[in-house]
């Protein structure tokens, strides 16, 4: 089975799709330690992204994932979960 990592590109697209927020993937990666609310993403927006990823990868993400404060923290948690589950 091929394990796909969730990238900043994918996160950027999800932020647009789930929360209507436009952020360039490069800028997202560069500012990966900035809090989500600095990009305008609220808690319901992050919850929507978690739900979309769970549906996309057919795997539950830990409850902490929707409490992540920054893109880096979020992607680290998501990718370690997906890798472990693969």
């Amino acid at each position: 089975m091929i394990t796909t990592e969730v990238t900043y590109d994918e996160l950027s697209a999800l932020m647009k799709q789930a929360a209507g927020i436009t952020v360039d993937p490069g800028e997202l990666k560069e500012a990966a330690e900035s809090p989500f609310d600095a990009f305008g993403l609220d808690s319901l927006g992050l919850l929507g992204i978690v739900g979309e990823l769970e549906n996309r990868y057919g795997q539950s993400l830990p409850p902490d994932s929707e409490r992540c404060r920054t893109p880096r923290e979020f992607l680290n948690l998501v990718n370690s979960t997906l890798t472990a589950g693969a």
Binding site: A19, G20, I21, G40, L44, G45
Partner: protein
């Protein structure tokens, strides 16, 4: 701002998103000309339903006016409300970031919340499973959604609320905002917008015996006539900016009208004969609060339910409350050209009343060419008249009745 206050609530801004006009001036032009935009409902998924005619807001692209991050988490009724609120704030000279965010509050009235958004998410629930329902469903359908989103989007942190008191709640929200202003809030953004024309929302209305299922747009909604066969629904709405009159003068903005008096009563769902007394009492209460004699009323914007028993009750209520003046005062119902947008209907009527006073013209009642009631109903074309005071009436299907008295501001036609 100084502490000088007049105790009177002044209308200083108006924003309209209506089936017959996407801005206030376009709305007034259509209302004045008696244009009717009632048409067969063209929305996807609605063609098989027995409700055929409505007033749709067409050529409204929310993406032109509202940012994506607000669009994804809101229903169409909130799109209308946010767009109308921004227009009203601009009109009042209060666009952009507020200098004193805690001094501006928001109150809206809502009749059904976000049906289209709710339907989309419920279809995901039953079609794919609970994990496919988006989290914004939790807030988008809610009656209070528009108040919250206007507050967030425009950065308004004053007292906020939502009035859920049936269709007449549109007038109750204006009274609520006026009270907030009298109690010391500088500015209130107030009104209602509705979007009841998605399939799910339409099915919810099919049980109303008052709904017109006539499929001819010119004949579907003709209140006060022998051919009255119910009402047709509409979407859209209006938001107003209300502030203390003295403060408005200090800011140097035109006072377009003042909210002088209001009262509300309740007489039970679809009990139209009883609504006569309820509406008459509401009118008397509004006149009392305004310190207004019946003879001072220069025009009445009628509720115009379009159900024979309800029309009769309204005509009699006007006579009961205004006496002999009730048969002489011009009465109009411009909503026959656009339909009833539930809570937004009386707010749109209040806007029409303000514009009628500014322009000195009573707009006509489209599609109505004769009346079987003892009313001086304005038909066919606008009637020029010196208008200082207007009475706006509203009733809801669930039994609420309300009356609002508005007085002309200091400027005539702008």
């Amino acid at each position: 701002m100084s502490n000088r206050r007049s105790g009177r609530a002044a209308v200083t801004g108006i924003g309209v998103i209506a089936p017959n006009g996407l801005r206030t001036d376009a709305y007034w032009k259509s209302v004045r000309e008696g244009l009717t935009v009632l048409d067969l409902i063209g929305r996807d998924g609605c063609g098989h339903l027995p409700l055929r005619v409505a007033g749709e807001v067409r050529s409204f692209d929310p993406a032109d006016l509202i940012e994506d991050r607000f669009l994804v988490q809101t229903d169409r009724f909130s799109h209308f409300a946010m767009a109308a609120a921004a227009l009203a704030l601009d009109d009042a000279g209060l666009g952009g970031d507020p200098a004193e965010p805690y001094s501006i509050g928001v109150v809206t009235a809502a009749g059904s919340g976000g049906g289209e958004f709710g339907q989309r998410e419920l279809q995901k629930l039953w079609g794919k499973g609970s994990k496919f329902v988006g989290p914004y469903q939790s807030i988008a359908w809610f009656y209070a959604a528009s108040t919250g989103q206007i507050s967030i989007r425009s950065g308004l942190k004053g007292p906020c609320g939502v009035v859920a008191s049936d269709e007449a709640g549109g007038l109750d929200s204006l009274a609520h905002a006026s009270r907030a202003v009298r109690r010391g809030t500088d500015v209130m953004v107030v009104g209602a917008a509705e979007a009841p024309l998605a399939p799910y929302s339409m099915v919810c209305q099919l049980g109303y015996p008052e709904l017109s299922t006539v499929d001819d747009p010119d004949r579907a909604y003709r209140p006060f006539t022998e051919k009255a066969c119910g009402f047709v629904p509409a979407e859209g709405g209006a938001l107003l900016v209300v502030e203390d009159e003295a403060r408005a003068r200090e800011r140097g903005v035109p006072v377009r009208a003042t909210v002088a008096g209001h009262a509300a009563t309740f007489t039970g769902a679809s009990r139209w004969a009883e609504s006569r007394e309820g509406l008459a009492r509401a009118i008397r209460g509004a006149l009392d609060e305004a310190g207004c004699a019946p003879e001072e009323i220069d025009v009445v914007f009628a509720d115009a339910m379009g159900v024979p028993e309800a029309d009769r009750a309204e005509a009699l209520a006007i006579a009961d409350a205004l006496g002999a003046h009730g048969t002489r005062v011009p009465v109009t119902a411009p909503k026959t050209g656009i339909g009833r947008a539930y809570c937004a209907a009386p707010v749109l009527d209040t806007v029409a009343a303000v514009l009628a006073m500014e322009h000195g013209q009573v707009p006509p009642t489209p599609n109505v060419f004769d009346t079987c009631h003892d009313l001086d109903l304005v038909m066919s074309r606008a009637r020029p008249a010196e208008l200082r005071t207007a009475l706006v009436l509203s009733r809801g299907l669930m039994g609420s009745n309300a009356a609002l008295v508005v007085r002309r501001g200091d400027d005539s036609a702008r």
